[in-house]
């Protein structure tokens, strides 16, 4: 079961990192300190740290 206990599915993860990466690319303030200049890299680091201010609304469960 532990495999399915993760907070987000791989689809949600992709959507969150994608959306966050686009925000960063378009000038949103970065929430972590990093030397990276790649918005996708930054978004993935933020995702791992759990600091992305995005939640997923699930329609049914």
């Amino acid at each position: 079961m532990d495999k399915f206990d993760k907070k987000y599915t791989r689809f949600e993860k992709a959507r969150i990192i994608g959306a966050r990466g686009l925000q960063i690319a378009m000038g949103a303030p970065v929430l972590i300190s990093t030397k990276s200049y790649d918005p996708i890299d930054i978004a993935m680091l933020e995702f791992e740290k759990g600091v992305i201010p995005i939640t997923v609304k699930r329609m049914s469960k």
Binding site: Q23, A25, A28
Partner: protein, 188 residues
């Protein structure tokens, strides 16, 4: 007439502004989007005064912006049919005079100024009555009734408001004052 309305609208917040306080950013975005806009059912939106509630914060695919649904208070000018307004004359033309009603200007056609033949005095840029000698020039204050409203949402400047002063108690404020004095004297 000015009205205060509680409205709901969706605004896009660009990613660059996400760092600041949401409420301030949304107010700014609403001001930019709505102030100066003319709506057929609402009227002319003058100012967004207060953001009351914020809902959501949706992220759409392919757009880095965040969309919020906000409830807010706004100050709106509604030109109401048959409404009485006062204003100053801002421009005089051959066919009539333009009266500033606030956010919008109204047209007072020559035929609607007084029960008299009105001619245009080009040299002095004013309109003169043939029999009464009444004159109307830029800067005069008048009281008029709104008789036609045609708002253009896409081109607010193209909105047309028609006025009349051919009724009792309407006209240039000085004329009204004279009328009142005359009436008071006759009563004596």
């Amino acid at each position: 007439m000015y009205k205060e309305m509680r409205l709901v609208d969706t605004v896009r917040i660009p990613p660059g502004k996400l760092g600041s306080k949401t409420e301030d950013v949304i107010k700014e975005a609403l001001e930019e989007k709505l102030e100066g806009r003319v709506d057929k059912t609402l009227g002319s939106i003058v100012a967004v005064t207060k953001v009351v509630g914020i809902e959501g914060g949706r992220i759409l695919a392919g757009d880095g912006g965040v969309y919020y649904t906000a409830t807010f208070d706004a100050l709106v000018y509604v030109p109401e049919m048959q409404g009485i307004t006062e204003g100053n004359i801002v421009e005089v033309a051959e066919f009539g005079a333009f009266v500033c009603l606030g956010p919008l200007d109204g047209l007072l056609h020559v035929s609607q100024i007084a029960d008299d033949y009105i001619s245009y005095d080009e040299k002095n840029a004013r309109l003169v009555g043939k029999e009464s000698g009444k004159s109307l020039a830029e800067g005069d204050s008048v009281r008029a009734r709104i008789v036609a409203v045609s708002l253009n949402e896409h081109e607010p400047r193209e909105s047309k408001i028609g006025l009349t002063m051919r009724q009792t108690a309407l006209g240039k404020l000085e004329w009204l004052e004279e009328m009142r004095k005359k009436e008071a004297e006759e009563a004596k």
